[in-house]
């Protein structure tokens, strides 16, 4: 059975033109956002403006409101 799996694995690793699938996978992995690039997700964001205001009244805290163009969560901004 192991032999079959090995043969299957080798067959699937045939070159993709000039590049193989491992090269593609490496690029996909290497270019993902890092923990540092996702650091802002460590902030506890309210879901919208009026929810934030409701929470700030009950917690007796100020609201920090950031308004921007584009989509902050995906970096298209």
């Amino acid at each position: 059975m192991k032999y079959v799996y090995l043969i299957s694995l080798v067959a699937l690793l045939v070159p993709l033109g000039a590049r193989d699938s491992a090269w593609v996978d490496h690029r996909v992995s290497d270019w993902q956002p890092t923990v540092r690039e996702r650091a802002w997700e460590q902030i506890g964001w309210a879901k919208d403006l009026r929810s934030a205001e409701r929470l700030c009244r009950s917690a007796n805290r100020p609201v920090f409101l950031f308004t921007h163009d584009g989509r902050l969560n995906v970096g298209r901004c």
Binding site: A11, L12, G17, W31, Q32, L55, P62
Partner: protein, 290 residues
């Protein structure tokens, strides 16, 4: 701001300990945006009150509201992106309001991907600037706060009709085909670097091609290799500037040939440049989530 001040550990700590943080996209709060009329009215109220108090007011700003909702302080993004300036604003307002430190009011959580309709294949795409390192190109790691500081991430989905066209000629080892241009362009229109312009309607594809070939079939799984090319106008800001993308792409798909199911799809730039001014190398990596 996300890349600099909102990634600063002291600012993250201050926001979580003393504030209720919230962000919003102006597109959602425009007349045609999906935010509720009550949300839009509240943002309008904040703008008006800020102006009446002589504070800096605008679309790309950081505001501090007191617990009673009154507008206390504000700062343009250009200043708020500088960690020391934003931290000073947070500190002075927390002190002035005598806010007691505590745990985050809202638990921090990773941002989930957008919902994907049943039967569709979700696709994630990362685009980022690259820099030469020896003979290789590697991701730019920068604290500059400009567009090279962060990757962009797009999420979209492939319908069953898209998948059929993507796999159209997948019948036997050695078979090859040209992917339907509509599906190829649906993928490739996202292949642009982080810029202030994220409007896909403003991208004009001048040349594109995506070809496929079945490299192997093992059991019921076919490995399909994809190669392609793109030349696409992409303005840096939201107005014409002559800038464009040139890219060669390569990738693969694993397909269950019995059920015609797309098991895995990956497509990356082998070489990509943002041209029409300073030539900037960038990379795009696309992957499917079954």
């Amino acid at each position: 701001m996300r890349a600099v001040s909102l990634s600063n550990p002291k600012i993250i700590e201050s926001l979580n300990a003393y504030y209720v943080p919230v962000y919003l996209s102006n597109e959602d709060y425009a007349d045609t945006g999906p935010a509720t009329k009550e949300e839009k009215a509240e943002l309008d109220r904040i703008h008006r009150e800020g102006l009446a108090k002589g504070l800096s007011v605008g679309s790309v700003h950081a505001y501090i509201l007191a617990p009673d909702g009154s507008v206390r302080d504000s700062m343009h993004t250009a200043q708020a992106a500088k960690a020391d300036q934003l931290l000073a604003m947070l500190d002075r307002n927390a002190r002035a309001l005598h806010v007691a430190a505590g745990p985050p009011v809202v638990a921090p959580t990773p941002h989930p991907p957008p919902p994907c309709a049943l039967g569709e294949t979700q696709v994630s795409l990362i685009a980022r600037y690259l820099v030469k390192n020896g003979n290789d190109l590697v991701p730019v790691r920068s604290d500059s706060g400009d567009w090279s500081s962060l990757p962009s991430e797009d999420w979209f989905s492939l319908t069953s009709a898209d998948r059929v066209k993507l796999l159209a000629g997948c019948v036997a080892e050695g078979s090859s085909w040209t992917v339907d241009p509509a599906v190829a362009n649906k993928l490739l229109v996202h292949f642009y670097p982080p810029t202030e312009n994220w409007d896909l309607e403003k991208n004009t594809i001048r040349e594109s091609a995506l070809t496929a070939k079945v490299e192997s079939v093992v059991g019921s799984t076919a490995r399909v290799a994809y190669t392609g090319h793109l030349r696409m106008d992409h303005w840096f800001y939201h107005k014409p500037d002559g800038r464009y993308v040139e890219a060669d792409v390569t990738g693969y798909a694993d397909v269950d040939v019995k059920t015609r199911t797309l098991l895995r799809f990956r497509l990356v730039t082998e070489r990509a440049d943002y041209k029409g001014g300073q030539t900037l190398p960038f990379g795009v990596a696309l992957r499917s989530f079954p």
